[in-house]
């Protein structure tokens, strides 16, 4: 296995073997979460800063719990209640936090590439918890882990991702990661929300036809349709989107018999996914949340042990 990457900004520096090790170790982390004492001392003495320049209660909670389960101390920084709201630059904010002897950063930012800047200015290991439209690697890892856990393997599995691909860092990270682990990815959505540049990725297909996209799929992931896209000129009408692209039982009837349903959350129920599909027997949406904590523990372990 090659030398460990210092950061998790995207998957560019990662080999399939390294990614496989992160997924394998997540199995052990999941077992820790099932114990009476849900905590191990692996990161004792380290301080992890969650620097969230964009709101996300779920992702931040998942990371903070993961860090605490590994016995790290957590410094929680939210831009909304800080000097960032008074115009302080990202660089100054990160350098200030670094001066508090933080050992690693978990960064969410609305600007693509912000996590790279944090890595540059902090000199500490950085985990990208979502930057602009670019990447959300731990979400993709937890999706891959959930599929592997539920279907036994990723090799040769057909994963269909439906919705607002254009604005989705989750879709981009999955389109990079899943083929590295042997899966085939189909990205599907209205032409206005389907960026053609993703078609060049190996193992990735694009289509505007949801019925074709779901036929024979082993996993179907619905992407959140944000309010501003509904009224921003990307869609003819919301009703048309729901009719063509909603992940519901009728569409899922075309998938393979044991296909599972995923959603990165939070959901717009009965918009991109029907309540019946979200709550039905194929749904693994809550398992994704549970697996997210295990994956983030594994990523923290990979990046920080013996390193910080």
């Amino acid at each position: 296995m090659n030398a460990r990457p210092r950061h998790l900004l995207d998957f560019d520096d990662y080999t399939p073997e390294r990614l496989g090790a992160i997924l394998d170790n997540a199995d052990v982390m999941r077992a820790v979460l099932d114990r009476p004492v849900k905590k191990v001392p692996a990161l004792q003495g380290l301080t992890v800063c969650t620097a969230f320049f964009e709101n996300s209660t779920r992702t931040r909670t998942s990371f903070e719990l993961a860090a605490r389960r590994m016995s790290a101390d957590v410094l929680s920084f939210a831009a909304g209640s800080s000097s960032v709201s008074k115009g302080e630059s990202l660089r100054d904010t990160i350098e200030t936090l670094t001066a508090y002897k933080v050992d690693a950063f978990i960064v969410r930012h609305h600007a693509s590439g912000a996590a790279h800047l944090v890595a540059k200015y902090s000199g500490k290991p950085v985990i990208n918890a979502g930057d602009g439209r670019r990447a959300h690697p731990t979400q993709a890892l937890l999706d891959a882990y959930t599929i592997r856990r539920e279907l036994g393997s990723l090799e040769g599995k057909n994963v269909t991702i439906i919705g607002d691909v254009r604005h989705s860092r989750v879709a981009r990270s999955n389109a990079q990661l899943l083929p590295m682990l042997g899966a085939n990815v189909t990205l599907c959505g209205p032409a206005t929300l389907l960026p053609r540049d993703l078609a060049h990725l190996p193992g990735v297909k694009l289509t505007t036809n949801a019925q074709d996209a779901v036929t024979g799929a082993d996993a179907v992931m619905a992407l959140r349709l944000q309010g501003e896209r509904m009224n921003g000129g990307y869609l003819g009408s919301l009703q048309e989107y729901i009719r063509e692209y909603q992940v519901n039982d009728a569409l899922l009837a075309r998938a393979s018999d044991d296909a599972i349903v995923l959603h990165p959350g939070p959901m717009n129920r009965d918009v991109e996914i029907s309540s019946a599909a979200a709550d039905g027997p194929r749904s693994r949406i809550l398992q994704q949340v549970e697996n997210g904590q295990a994956i983030r523990m594994s990523v923290l372990y990979h990046l920080l042990v013996g390193r910080a």
Partner: protein, 182 residues
């Protein structure tokens, strides 16, 4: 390259484990409420062998578990590349049981300290005892074994290699010079 010495051959290893099994039964007045927990990697087959001997001697099936201590180590800063963490599996209630931790070599005591922490996070055993195939000395912590297959005074420039049929294809304990195995 050959070892400096073969400390135990297959027969001697078998006899040492048989003696440990007898000592366990004598000290605990039988095998009731006992459990064997092997430490990854070679502690696991050694625990299985002790369980088989206890069954042979007493007709009791002693429950077995496996413990990975990677997340509990205190020398993680020395790890350049993290190992894959193996599964910890203790499929029985630890409470009220006397647990016998099993490992191949007792050296600094740091592995056993980590194992004690890992075990106590899983429950509250009535007691914990330690069985090792080889005690090579050089303790850095106040830890001692209750059952020892072979006491082997060594220098820190030497390496003790335990080979087991289950993991290495044959049974032996060998002493090597450190420079010969690096």
């Amino acid at each position: 390259m050959n070892p400096k010495a073969t400390i135990l051959n297959a027969d001697e290893m078998r006899r040492a484990l048989t003696r440990i099994a007898h000592e366990i039964l004598e000290r605990n007045r039988g095998a009731q409420d006992l459990a064997l927990v092997g430490i990854h990697t070679r502690g696991i087959p050694l625990a299985a062998r002790l369980a088989a001997k206890l069954h042979e001697l007493e007709g009791v099936d002693v429950p077995q578990g496996r413990l990975d201590i990677t997340l509990y180590r205190d020398d993680l800063s020395e790890i350049a590349r993290q190992p894959i963490i193996r599964e910890t599996q203790v499929p029985f209630d630890l409470n009220q049981r006397r647990v016998i931790l099993v490992d191949d070599v007792l050296y600094t005591g740091r592995t056993i300290r980590a194992a004690l922490d890992a075990l106590i996070d899983l429950g509250r055993p009535a007691g914990i005892q330690l069985a090792v195939l080889v005690d090579r000395g050089h303790r850095e912590l106040p830890i001692r074994a209750d059952y020892v297959g072979k006491n082997l005074p060594t220098s820190q420039g030497e390496v003790v290699k335990v080979k087991l049929h289950e993991t290495d294809g044959s049974d032996s304990v060998e002493l090597w010079n450190l420079e010969d195995v690096q």
